[in-house]
Symmetry: D2
């Protein structure tokens, strides 16, 4: 960490600051720049709050040199982490397809889609039981009943399941869920992150709509610091000024994240745009960018599932995407397994 | 709601859509535009998910005409809501000052600051017991112990207290808290919103970093739809591309929100910039924009409270702000009470 | 266009508005919504300024139904526009590679790189002669001298050239340039757009850093409305809150733009991130998203071209990208020609 | 400037970099951090392009310590610059009001408004002759004819005039204009900045929609480096994700800019929101934030000036704003003169 001191600082304030920094177990290497005194902090600065330093009267600016995350940092763990979900691997040269409906609606629906996406090549089934909705008046999912139906589909098809946990109080219901999803709106729900950090289960951590890559890795760090290192990151679009898509899929994040962390990262091309016909091109783009997998919404019966299946692909369209993805994988050195 | 149908739609798909819309109790007024068929939806469209309509194959675009919020909507409730906190009023021509430290640290500290801000003119005491922090390694607050100290300060000074609730599981500890704050990162933690919606207590709802004004009002609607209409909105900065401030305080939101809703709205000028010397100008700017109050961080002993008091004002600086605010209030038709 | 009138409008103001709208040659279809009067405008509304309507006292909101662009609109021109550059086609099932250095530095340098990128598979040479730079103290390019060197490289290698025009006053120097680039910062320099609209020459129109897709198409419309329909769009990243990359490449824009317009669109994967090692993954991602081509920075001698070649690939790395792109093209139904 | 070198750098690359840095006349102070080698650059680094350093293979990250602007930097020029416009001062403890219509339409209109705003307290007249418009089909202003009308209004009322220059080729027409405005879309039109830098005339430099404060000061630096130090900055809103206002007025920028530069800064509250009824609250907010003035759109005859006067205030509303501003000025230590 580099602290740039204002030109007209008072010695007393500087002494107070340096004393406090040293009390945090960090050494100081001071040097005189052209106009300003510059303090270089040497040692473990991960516990020093950069915002608080910045807010001090005598500080002109402060820059972090070392990343504030450690367990998620590739510098301290150079090889890829492989997250294993019943034999299906995330990370390394593996590529995974998770597919299923936005919401679980009925036994017939979820088992039907599960069979269809399995036939098309998906290894893991997704489906929403608890649904975060902007409006209190919108359908919030079948909740516990939806979870039961998902577990039936797992039993019927042998597919591991992935579904979203919205609050700690429901955690006991998720014992047989294979991947617990933390949604974008909960990416900085720190109590929830700590709760899933105490489990021994893969966590799919979606990026928050307005969160930087560094904040995302800090949220992964929250989970890992409680003991659970099975974190799979999921890019799903960020909020920008562009109104033509609901969110802007940030695919440059994929190769960058792979440099910063050893954790696997996948892409959700369905939610970013909210437009079904963009799923195929954005799926291929994600593979090109180096993603470790895709999570795609698929539904079976559009006319009857108007409001929950609408933004998803039909199984035959999904199959088309899978075929093209499979042609691309050798190009990026990946295999489905 | 206006739905613009694609030029090359299939009749069967259109029939399916119109049938579904009618099943939601909404009438359709279809008209032929220059190039497209346009459906005007007449009736209560608040339960219709605009994103799902947009994602349909035959839909080119969809625009909302009526707001999706009802209880928070000024159209249905023209007069200002007044939220009363032990006689201190939010809304109407009232103006409130909430002040106190970022974190509660000790009995001496919180009581000292409480007395100082009361003397300077604040009516309500703020202080963090549970602290949301980006890093799992940063200090997370004194938690339950911090709450006890706040309650002592309330007893000692008679000031109502305002503090943040981070998770539903702590809700029982907050029985004697006068205003429960929902932080920016929890603005769309829907389970938490429903939980505080069941209380009969003022809720300070901070705007999420990347949330539109409409989403903010939808979160207020979540609380109100559970029965609690005592919602105070708090603007605290949004995330933009500008790196010079931590967040960009969106003061245009103040007069706009006042048109859209009858709920009171205050401003937190301390957190947006993270820079103490911006608190005074941004406080005066907030009053000019028509805010119903301010929530300001104040600390007492900078050298000893380096890391939690740093971005706040000292009591004498806060007093200076209060004096200037008091001069401005008649200009915007407001009084402190 | 749909205009939502406020509930408490004055009849006189409404009459004034409707009279004015009719004077613009547009018909009005008024209907009564649940709470508001709604005016539907039927006819050519492309000349009506939506911002001005929105600002009227009696208007609550206004929504555009028809796009404000006509010449660039796929609705009025369903088949792809093919822009031909000396036999190399942009649009349709063609895919083009433009490559070359950030800045032209010397005859040896530009001819060396031209030969290298041609050998690696590029069809068109790029190179900066006039360089837009944030700082007045930074190197601004060799200007007219740089253009001459580019033309020499064209003569030597037979490659068409693409280079940026920064101001109308230099336009005569660009007579033998094959593609004139309008940079992101000039996307709304309307006088410059009109000037190149009067030429009979392909224009590469980069997207502005903070411009919506619709504004981008309106800028294409400026060029086309002066008579020049040879517009090639170029996505190069938009400005967001994420600090890890210089800009965020918006690849979802590719399939969307292809629906909205018949113009070809290519991607510049070098400038968005400013990080050379992201060029390969983002090039493959662009192909997956359906881009009609790539414009890539390539330099030849990194140690001696420290400051202008640094963010580019070396020729052998570029060749590697070309090989992978060529494997992908059949998947997206494209050929290089 | 601080350069953080990657852990696995090659010695040859580092030598090449350090040699090049030294050739730029800058000294290097190298130190070993916990994990990385860190180079501190001492001397004038304003000519070193930070993006290019960042893009080098061996560089992990780079941070600027000294600002890249010199002439605009308060560190090198601590006292406020006062820009004098025929005796009306911008900067220091002065406060200025510029007012007038969006577009000049007729002699009667502009002289009428000029007299009205002068009576209400404005010292300087604004009016658009050349209008930048997103659509090529929208009214682009009366151009040269509009300028003549403005000059007539100046003659008639004695008010200095402020109007926008859109391209260098029109510069000769602007000889009798008192303040030349550079619009937001031209903030990085570097050739235009250099052209007005050669004049001896106040320049009103609007902030670009997506430009950081630092880029804005770099554009001021462009003008100043050509010899013209009479630059007045103007905040007019930035582009964010919020759709309720056209742009988000960034008032925190006011006190920040005043710390970073000695140049005066004013606010345009009319354009940011595009909503006339927000002009009064945002004007008062601007004064509170410490602005050196306001530029406000005022029109005289709404029913007949529907499309250009719509987003502006009527003279009597403007007068109301002036009265409230005058009450506030002593609070922020300012006077109108």
């Amino acid at each position: 960490m580099i602290i740039i001191i204002k030109q007209d600082y008072e010695k007393e304030q500087l002494d107070s600051l340096t004393k406090w920094i040293k009390s945090q177990g960090v050494k100081i290497d001071a040097s005189k720049g052209e106009k300003n005194l510059i303090l270089g902090l040497v040692g473990d600065t991960s516990k020093i709050d950069i915002d608080l330093i910045r807010s001090l009267d005598i500080v002109e600016n402060v820059k972090r040199i070392q990343e504030p995350y450690k367990l998620a940092n590739r510098k301290f763990h150079p090889q890829d982490t492989i997250v294993d979900v019943s034999g299906h691997k995330f990370g390394g040269n593996s590529f995974q397809l998770i597919a299923g409906p936005c919401s679980v609606e009925s036994e017939e629906q979820i088992i039907g889609i599960a069979k269809a996406v399995k036939a098309a090549g998906a290894n893991i089934l997704r489906g929403g039981a608890f649904k975060p909705r902007t409006s209190p008046y919108a359908f919030q999912g079948l909740k516990a009943e939806g979870l039961k139906l998902l577990l039936k589909a797992k039993e019927e098809t042998g597919m591991p399941i992935c579904t979203e946990l919205m609050a700690e109080k429901y955690i006991d219901l998720f014992q047989d869920v294979d991947i617990i999803q933390i949604g974008a709106r909960n990416m900085q729900n720190f109590d929830l992150l700590k709760a899933v950090g105490k489990l021994n289960k893969p966590i799919l951590l979606k990026r928050g709509l307005a969160n930087t890559i560094q904040e995302w890795l800090m949220s992964a760090e929250y989970i890992m610091s409680e003991g659970n290192e099975n974190v799979i990151l999921c890019e799903r679009g960020i909020r920008t000024f562009e109104p033509a898509t609901r969110n802007t899929l940030d695919l440059s994040a994929i190769p960058l994240v792979k440099e910063m962390t050893h954790l696997p990262i996948i892409v959700d091309p369905s939610h970013a745009s909210g437009i079904a016909r963009l799923v195929e091109p954005m799926s291929l783009a994600s593979v090109g960018a180096g993603s470790d997998g895709l999570i795609i919404e698929v539904h079976n019966d559009p006319p009857h599932a108007l409001c929950d299946g609408a933004q998803s692909l039909r199984p035959e369209q999904f199959e088309e995407v899978v075929k093209k993805v499979d042609v691309m994988l050798p190009l990026v050195g990946k295999v489905r397994n």
